[in-house]
Structures are given as structure tokens and as C-alpha cells.
């Protein structure tokens, strides 16, 4: 195998640029199916860094592997909704057909089976990414067909015979993914004529553009709700010879997929929003940080960018303003939920491990490559473009006093009409459930695992920053589901996705899950419930970034809203129940020596 040559070519392609380390490793991974130690050494030598620096990056992301991942690498989504839709059966079918277990690769290196966190297809589960091709609504028959095709050495893309709707059908996408747009609203999903926003913006001063955004009360759509105008203002006030606009296209919160739909259908609106932001903060360069799971959209997005350059909406003389230059580069992630956190995203965009930074300094003063940077959510930038086109006054007529505008919701789970809904802020969960066909829900997980689990009695609560803020993930949980399974799955997710930097998140979440399992096994006590609560509070208080600060939420919010379930699971007659099981503990040694527990051993 001409490995030597391949890596040299890859290094040359990326000009031995350290800030392109993720791209380099990605290319190695896709060329060789893994990142072998020899490649690590060669990259380190070429970039003049230590091997641990390269290995650190190569071991951080889901889609890089330190062992052969398989010439066909199956990444099967393992979030809770996938489980609702029959993931276990599909996983078993893959294992049966491929004759290999999840977490392993077949002996001949042909097929590797891997579990991965939410890939943004919750409305069409079970789903998987295989060699970059997205497979949705998997069935046992389809799995059989896929594995047969692998054994025949076929290109996975050729298995996509029917494409989804809209731009999923375009030559550059050709994906079986469907948009499932159930409700279009006036801000994000309404038709948008390219140029409407930027051409207007450039006739104003940047200060006036920021003032208009401030007037609109636009709050960040990632869920945290920071005022967008203020963020731009901070950014522009940071003196530097360069400023950046970074679009966070790394929606990783389990259950969210609305950004995928925007990228598929409204990318021109997004890019124009970035141009508006660029004009406002004085940036010449924008970066779209695209999650690896959406790599199948990259060519399409490049195409949209090229079309916008031709129309002078971005690029030279952007928006028709002489001398205003603003262009956009797409940077790829490699599979890490934490990179949705803005400072981790910046680290990753710089080619490093996606570990959050200490803040302050905030990205608006010290961002991409150290320059002042505004990092905004896809939906925020789209809304900004629309505000420039239609005015802050118009925008404020939508939604509520504190939450102006609309919100895209990604609805999935136990409902008849999963998909994307653009609704005005202020909508109650009850109304939403009626809209999506999930009236009999026992709970709604608002904002994904890091959000809030709302019980039936509280469905009058409303989507909005004043009540239930959300990045858009809405998971409907039907009456037949075991809430403990939901919580357990979410804890698994946080444990897997913790970057491991700080102790409370790295260690605490596993301990919390172990305690939850004790309770689930019927060995819990009232004391264990108070431990859950107090340990959860410790992790929330002491963790370094938003991941750890929200990771106990699945437990804490269900402890609050589903207390009766926990109470009915634990023993009330004693304050100590051991998990120790003598029979299980001697099992291994018995197997070696043939000794058996006698009667005397039992209590």
C-alpha cells in the first residue's frame, strides 16, 4: 500500500498548515480507513509538532479512529428516539449480516460497526452514516441489502435510489434524507430573494445595522438567548486588524435537525445573514463550521456560495458595495457534540481538540485565531438577514414581548407528524402537541437532554426565553415509555460527549449514572435520591462549560417533574441497600476453580 505517498499528498494539499490538522487527519482517515501510528508520526514531523499533539486530535473526534474502522464504516445513531423507532433491531440486523459486533471491525477489515451520537435525523430514524452516505428509515431488509452491497464492493452512494424532497434531490446532494417541513413561518422558511438583506444593509452604516438588530430584540437561537445585536457590538468594539464571523452549524443536541433543513433549503438566506454580520462587525472572512454528520451537504453549500459570489452577494463588492469584501469558507467538524459550544468550536476550527476555552476572554474579543469573532447560530443569522430585509418593527410583531420572532422546532419521538415547524414564540406545548399529533404524550423533552423534561401537568408552558428556552429540539415521549430509559440514554450521551477536561463533568456524570442504575435496579433508597440531587448540583455548579453545567438536567428535571416515579422505585424501609451480589462476585473464580458457594455462604 503506497501509504507514504498518500500522506505526503495530503500534507501538501493542506500546505502543512497546523490550523488544518483536522482536515489532514480527516483525509488520512478517509484514505486509509483509520489513522495509523505511522501516519501520526509523519504528520507530526511535517507540521513540526509532537506526536501527542496529532494523536490528541485524532483521538478526540467520533469519525477518526486509531484502529481500522472498516472499509465500510457504519455509524449508527444511538440516541433515544432512534431507540424508539427500532434501533435495537437494526443494530442486531447489522451484527447478524456483517458477522461482527458494534464497536468492532470484521477480521478482513471490510465492515466496521460503530455507534454514534445524534446525527440529526431524528424524524427519520433509525438512521446511519456509511462512508459519508446517510441512510434513513432503516429496515432489516435494507440492512441486508446494504451489507450485501458492501460485500460486493459497491459504492454506498449507489444505494440511494430514491431521494428526499427539495434540494435533497439536487445532483450535488442526492440524499434519501427528507426535509419534513410541516410548518413554514415568515422568518426562516419563507421564500427569500437573494440580495434583499445585504443590499439594504450596505446602504446603512455598520452601526445602524447593529442598531436595527438591537431594536429587533433578536436573541441567539442556540438556546442561550444572548442578544445578537449586543454580541455584534462587542465584536466591533474590539480593536483588531481582522474580525471574523463564524456560523455555528454544529447542531449536536440530540433531537435537533432544523439546521440541516435550513442548510438544505435556505442556505442562501444563511449566507446572506453572515454577510450582514460581516458588514456589521467589519469582517472580511466568514467561516461556516459544519458538523461532520452533514458532510453530505458540503458540495451543495459550496455551490450556493459560488452562486452568491456570482451575484455579488458575497465576495468582492459584496451586496453591490464597492470595496466591501466578504467571503465564506466551510470548515468541517469531525464528530463532537462539545464543538457546538462556541469556544470549543473555535478551537476545532483552528484544527485542535474541541475543548472549550476559559472565558473571559470571550470570542468577541479573542476568537478565531485570536481575532475578535462573532459566533452565531444558523437560525440567528437567517433571522438577522430577514430583519434587514423586512425591518425590526415587523420582526417584533411576531412572538412575545420578551421573545421576538419565530423559532424552528425539530419535533421527533412519539408523534404522528415529526419534522420541522417554524412557530411563533409563545406557543404552548399543548398546542404544539396537537399540531404534531402527539396529544397523549406523558412528557416532552424541550431543548434536548440539556434542556427540561416537562410532564403532562405542565403542558400549558410556552416556548420562549421567558419560560421554556430551547435550541429547537422537541422530543415527544409517549405514555408507554419508561422515563428511566430516557434519562439513562441521555446520561450515556453526556458521558460519551464530555471532553474530559474538567473533573466534575469527566468523573461526576459516570457516578451520577451509576447511582441512577442503582435506583433503576430496585436497590435505591430515599438517601440515594438525595444523593442524586446533591451530586447533580455539584456537577452543575463546578463544571467548566455548558455541557457539564447542564449534563445532570435529565436527572434533575425528572426528579423534579416525575418525583413519583423515583419514589416508587426506591425502598422506603431502609437507608442502606447494598449492590454487592456474592453470587456474581464469585462467578469468575468459580469458573476457574470449580468451587461452589455452599449453603453457609448464603445469609
Amino acid at each position: 500500500m503506497p501509504k507514504q505517498g498518500i500522506i505526503k499528498t495530503i500534507l501538501a494539499r493542506h500546505k502543512k498548515d497546523k490550523s488544518r490538522l483536522i482536515e489532514i487527519v480527516r483525509d488520512v482517515q478517509s484514505a486509509l480507513g483509520w489513522v495509523p501510528p505511522a501516519a501520526v508520526a509523519e504528520i507530526a514531523e511535517a507540521l513540526n509538532v509532537s506526536k501527542v499533539d496529532v494523536e490528541g486530535v485524532a483521538t478526540f473526534y467520533h469519525f477518526f479512529s486509531g484502529a481500522p474502522a472498516g472499509r465500510y464504516a457504519v455509524y449508527l445513531n444511538d440516541n433515544f428516539v432512534a431507540g424508539m423507532k427500532g434501533r435495537a433491531e437494526i443494530a442486531a440486523a447489522f451484527e447478524k449480516e456483517a458477522k461482527c459486533r458494534f464497536g468492532e471491525t470484521t477480521a478482513d477489515g471490510l465492515i466496521g460497526l460503530h455507534a454514534t451520537s445524534c446525527i440529526g435525523m431524528n424524524d427519520q430514524e433509525p438512521s446511519a452514516i456509511i462512508n459519508g452516505v446517510v441512510f434513513t428509515k432503516l429496515t432489516k431488509a435494507k440492512v441486508k441489502q446494504i451489507v450485501a452491497a458492501m460485500k460486493a464492493g459497491r459504492d454506498m452512494a449507489r444505494l440511494v435510489t430514491t431521494c428526499g424532497d427539495g434540494a435533497n434531490q439536487s445532483k450535488l446532494v442526492r440524499a434519501m434524507v427528507t426535509n419534513n417541513i410541516r410548518k413554514k413561518g415568515p422568518v426562516i422558511l419563507a421564500p427569500f430573494k437573494p440580495g434583499e438583506a445585504i443590499r439594504r444593509a450596505v446602504t446603512w452604516t455598520p452601526e445602524d445595522v447593529i442598531a436595527e438588530i438591537k431594536r429587533s430584540n433578536l436573541l441567539g437561537r442556540g438556546g442561550a438567548g444572548f442578544p445578537t445585536g449586543l454580541k455584534w457590538d462587542f465584536c466591533v468594539q474590539s480593536q483588531a486588524d481582522r474580525h471574523y464571523v463564524v456560523c455555528n452549524a454544529d447542531e449536536g443536541e440530540p433531537g435537533t435537525f432544523k439546521d440541516r433543513v435550513i442548510l438544505t433549503e435556505q442556505a442562501h438566506l444563511l449566507f446572506e445573514g453572515m454577510a450582514v454580520a460581516g458588514y456589521a462587525v467589519g469582517a472580511k472572512e466568514g467561516i461556516l463550521y459544519l458538523r461532520a454528520e452533514y458532510a453530505y451537504l458540503k458540495n451543495h453549500l459550496e455551490h450556493v456560495l459560488e452562486a452568491l459570489r456570482k451575484k455579488a452577494i458575497i465576495g468582492r463588492n459584496a451586496g453591490g458595495k464597492k470595496g466591501f469584501i466578504f467571503d465564506i469558507e466551510i470548515k468541517m467538524g469531525a464528530g463532537a457534540y462539545i464543538c457546538g459550544e462556541e469556544s470549543a468550536l473555535l478551537e476545532s476550527a483552528e484544527g485542535k481538540r474541541g475543548e472549550p476555552r476559559d472565558r473571559p476572554p470571550f470570542p468577541v474579543t479573542y476568537g478565531y485565531l485570536g481575532y475578535p469573532t462573532t459566533v452565531n447560530n444558523i437560525e440567528t443569522l437567517c433571522a438577522a438577514a430577514r430583519i434587514l430585509a423586512k425591518g425590526a418593527g415587523w420582526f417584533k410583531t411576531l412572538g412575545t414581548a420578551k421573545s421576538a420572532g419565530t423559532k424552528l422546532l425539530s419535533v421527533s419521538g412519539d408523534c404522528r407528524k415529526p419534522g420541522v415547524y417554524e412557530v411563533e414564540f409563545g406557543l404552548s406545548l399543548q398546542k404544539l402537541l396537537e399540531m404534531v399529533g402527539g396529544r397523549d404524550a406523558q412528557a416532552v423533552q424541550v431543548g434536548g437532554p440539556s434542556g427540561t423534561c416537562v410532564s403532562r401537568g405542565q403542558f400549558e408552558r410556552r416556548i420562549g426565553f421567558e419560560d421554556l428556552p430551547t435550541g429547537g429540539s422537541i422530543i415527544v415521549i409517549g405514555p408507554h415509555r419508561d422515563m428511566f430509559d430516557v434519562v439513562h440514554n441521555f446520561m450515556d450521551f453526556f458521558i460519551e460527549e464530555s471532553c474530559g477536561w474538567c473533573a466534575p463533568c469527566r468523573v461526576g456524570n459516570s457516578l451520577l449514572k451509576r447511582k441512577l442504575e442503582k435506583i433503576m435496579s430496585g436497590k435505591g433508597t430515599i438517601r440515594d435520591l438525595s444523593d442524586l440531587e446533591s451530586w447533580g448540583r455539584i456537577i452543575k455548579t463546578m463544571s467548566r462549560c455548558g455541557l457539564g453545567q447542564t449534563s445532570p438536567n435529565p436527572i434533575l428535571t425528572t426528579l423534579q417533574n416525575f418525583r413519583h416515579l423515583y419514589e416508587s422505585k426506591v425502598r422506603h424501609d431502609t437507608d442502606f441497600v447494598t449492590e454487592f451480589d456474592l453470587k456474581a462476585a464469585v462467578h469468575a473464580a468459580s469458573g476457574v476453580t470449580g468451587q461452589k458457594l455452599t449453603e453457609a455462604h448464603h445469609e
Binding site: 447494598t578 456474581a584 464469585v586 476453580t593 453457609a600
Partner: protein
């Protein structure tokens, strides 16, 4: 009022903690005035014939017999105390905890260079206690009421703790008393 009754046991330990009890020197005479020793290697009483006030446990649980003993102590002692690192966290014996028990047994009895080739067999007499998959801290097996760390805990700590337990007073831990080595 009758004297408080104390029982002691060494599970997977080295008897160092018991030695440390003896390290209280001449105060042992005072101790004997204060308390009555029941089941303990110190007086060689082997079975419980009455409920004890305080049980002192040295060592963690590495085999089925340790578990049995510990459970018996729990049943017969009002207050049960983990004494020393091994009881509290497995200690030195727990260094095997990351290694599968099969590998441990094979290394110790089959592959180790110091094993006489003629004797290469893993002990399997049914009378022998069965090794557990790992060494368990005592408080993971039964409820433990108090913990005295150290390897061994100092005589001073043991003395103060015993006096406090017997007199039913809170234990005043000064900085020099809490040590893990």
C-alpha cells in the same frame, strides 16, 4: 452499667491495624478497664455469643469468607467501623482490581517463575473460600458507621475513636490524626 463490648476482625488485611491497636501502649490497660473484648484475634474468641457495641473491621473483602465474616459482624455489632485503608478502599490487595481474577490466579499459581513446576495448580479445594472478582471496600458490602483511615491508623486515632464511640461523644479529629499512609 456494664462495660461496652468490642469485637474485631481482620479480613483481607495484614493485621497491621490490630498491631496499631496494641500501639496504644500502656493505655491498653485503661482500655481493658473501659471495655470488654469479645470475638477478636486479640483474645481468640471465635464466635459471637452476644451483641457487641462496637465492631472494628480491618481489611476489605477479597473472598467469600470475608463477606461472611463481615455480614456476621454487621448482625452482631451495633456500631461497625472500617479501620484502615484496606477496609475503606481495598488497599494493597485491591491492586489486583483492574486485572481479571482468572489472570491473577494463573499468574500466581501457574505462570509465576517462583512456582515449583510440580505444584502448578490453582487451589480448588471446596473448603477454601472463593476469591471474589475484585476486592470490595467493606462499606460496599454492608452498612459501615464510621471510618478510621490510615495504613495503619495511628494508635492515637484508634484510641480517640474508641473513647469517643464508647462514651458516645463526637470524634474530634485534629489534622495529624487523618493520614492515609
Amino acid at each position: 452499667m456494664s462495660k461496652p463490648i468490642i469485637a474485631t476482625a481482620s479480613l483481607a488485611g495484614c493485621f497491621g491495624c490490630h498491631m496499631s491497636v496494641l500501639d496504644i501502649d500502656d493505655r491498653i490497660l485503661t482500655l481493658i478497664d473501659l471495655v470488654e473484648f469479645h470475638k477478636s484475634p486479640i483474645d481468640d474468641i471465635k464466635t459471637f455469643s452476644k451483641i457487641c457495641d462496637v465492631g472494628l473491621i480491618e481489611g476489605g473483602c477479597c473472598n467469600s469468607e470475608n463477606v461472611e465474616t463481615l455480614r456476621e459482624f454487621r448482625k452482631n455489632c451495633k456500631v461497625l467501623v472500617s479501620v484502615g485503608e484496606c477496609a475503606i478502599m481495598g488497599g494493597l490487595p485491591a491492586m489486583r482490581n483492574g486485572i481479571p481474577v482468572k489472570d491473577c490466579l494463573e499468574e500466581a499459581y501457574l505462570h509465576c517463575p517462583t512456582v515449583d513446576p510440580a505444584d502448578r495448580m490453582i487451589p480448588n479445594d471446596p473448603e477454601l473460600p472463593i476469591i471474589l472478582d475484585k476486592v470490595y471496600p467493606c462499606h460496599e458490602v454492608v452498612k459501615i458507621d464510621a471510618f478510621l483511615p490510615g495504613c495503619p491508623p495511628s494508635a492515637e486515632l484508634i484510641w480517640k475513636a474508641l473513647v469517643a464511640l464508647v462514651e458516645g461523644k463526637p470524634l474530634d479529629l485534629t489534622y495529624d490524626l487523618v493520614k492515609f499512609d
